[in-house]
């Protein structure tokens, strides 16, 4: 019966800005970006750790965090986040984007009683998932309140130096 593993010939790296880079399998040293092909090599040794070799120059690269197909890497001291996708998962994203329905809003509320120290966004600010929107002091600690979604801030109810109760609205985000 259908016992073959899914025959995946291509992988995509999808950046957080939705840029897509294609790699054919098995991985070769040539990668195609747009119409041009580049020859790069991924190497590692004792002295330099992991680095990318391009035109005889070494560029250090470090995986800061990985979670299944999601990666956060540090390359030339700049951090990048991207996901590795298969042709099937790209296809699936297209299917789901048409069936997901209308855009909704996300309300960010205070997770615990405390005092707002700082508000980091304004109405109209564009936020990405995991970006701090406010700082709440509670349990004698400064807590970053993170946006769980990508979107645009439409309302800011939080004010610096005011006390909030649990579940008070801080920021409203339109997806």
């Amino acid at each position: 019966m259908a016992q073959d593993n899914l025959n995946i010939r291509k992988l995509y790296a999808l950046s957080s800005e939705n840029k897509r880079f294609c790699f054919s399998l098995p991985l070769k040293h040539n990668i195609r970006i747009g119409k041009r092909e580049y020859e790069v090599q991924l190497k590692s040794d004792e002295k330099y750790g992991t680095y990318i070799l391009w035109k005889n120059r070494k560029y250090p690269v470090e995986i800061i965090r990985s979670r299944q197909n999601k990666y956060e890497i540090l390359f030339n001291d700049i951090s990048y986040t991207f996901t590795v996708e298969t042709p099937f998962s790209i296809q699936r994203m297209k299917v789901l984007s048409t069936t997901k329905g209308k855009a909704e809003k996300e309300l960010i509320v205070a997770p615990m009683p405390g005092k707002i120290i700082d508000v980091l966004v304004r109405e109209g600010s564009v936020v990405t998932r995991g970006e701090p929107v406010a700082i709440l002091e509670a349990m004698k600690m400064q807590n970053e309140i993170l946006s769980p979604v990508n979107g645009t801030v439409v309302k800011v109810s939080a004010k610096a130096n005011t006390n909030v109760m649990k579940n008070d609205l801080l920021v409203e985000i339109k997806l």
Partner: protein, 518 residues
Amino acid sequence: MDLSGKYYKAFTERQEAIKKQYSPAQAEKQHSKGKLTAWERLSLLFDNGSFEEIDAFVTPADQPVEFGKVERSFGDGVIVGHGKVNGRLIFAYAQDFTIMGGSLGIVHAKKISKIQEMALKMGSPIIALIDSGGARIQEGVASLSGYAGIFHNIIHSSGIIPQISVILGPAAGGAVYAPALTDFVFMVNHTSYMFVTGPNVVKEVLNEDVTSDGLGGAEVHARKSGVAQMIYDDEENTILALKKFLSYLPSNNVENPPVVIDDGSVSDVNEKLRDLVPDDPNKAYDVKDIINQIVDRNSFFETAELFGASLVTGFARLRGKTIGVVANQPKVLAGVLDIDSSTKGARFIRFCDAFNIPILTLEDVPGFLPGVDQEHAGIIRHGAKMLFAYAEATVPKITVILRKAYGGAFIVMNSKNLGGDFSFAWPSAEIAVMGPDGAVAILYRKELAASENPAELKKELVKKYRDKIANPFIADQLGYIDEVIDPATTRKKVISAFDALANKWVKVPARKHGNMPL
């Protein structure tokens, strides 16, 4: 056997018929919903060609009363069998939504029960790939009793073999309790749902409008209810993550977890660890950065990332050996223990204990979360679960106190007298009944009230408290911790402590079971 004879002909006809059942048209139906077919899922999970199906040709039970149509399919909507995952024996069942909605009839249920019993007998993990409309209405009570049998098997295998559920479509009604009883639940964003009653019933009974995703989608269960521990954006990554996850677990409760060959490339002394905890005790940091610097490179696999996030739990490796990590997360709610993080931690610790996985605790906890909300919702009995789980666990248990270790939360987080085997502290540790501000306010209430400059006096007393009481050296002198260590040597210390504990054996007196607060 005569290959041209009539017996062989009957055999090939059957083979042809079942091939037809799993047709491209059926696959297309699943693909159009962003889902894979049951066979595609199994072939992703198991090593190439290693999956062997049993009971492929069984047919649905006859109905006692004719009501509604039952498709005469082979296998009754579920594929069961065994195979190798990364070379290890694993049992699995995969429900097939394209056959009567993957609904569970009595034959379907008996197939699942059979494979569950086999997995238990062989001491191998069992994986449930769930994509089912629920109990088969046409079969009535027979179908319900089928569920009961499945639940019974899960409960009696609990703590003997790892049981993992992967929700890849709907799981509704009583069916949700099968995954709920297993050790870990994986879900897929936007295509998998779990609820006791669906949106239609909610609308009818309570007049609430809610979508399937909003009621019981992956995100909801991972973030709010805590039903699902691992969620991913598509089925391939979910199954690949499951394969990785399995590599940390032993096959059963008498085996030790598999050991990965360690290339020795991670240095035991890591000076980066000295700079990760901020000097200002009010500043947060990400404890996952610390975990990643201690354990083998890229070996940390976090469980229940989004639920009770003020406590981080997950599996990792030290020199190739599996450990469970429990760490307070100062970045989220200051790392407090609340109801969600306590129940999450307790369940994780109990899993580690059942399957011989040593536990490393990284502690930076300001206490239990105060407030009416938490008290009324039962933080006392939920917090007690953590205590119970830690004290009950007989696997090697090591604690490293990174910074705050205050009050009841200090006791709970695997303190020495609760049964922790080794307790280390970084020089930045603050071990005391409560934080400086609280302590000063209570002990010097009168003096502060009488003082002309209370703010100045308070500052002075806080400093004195930090120097005299809230540090790791007093606890070290009194033997409540074993050693104050240089953060850079944490990996080395922890590895040698776990080595020393490798043959730990605790004799537990016979009893039916303890009575853990639930």
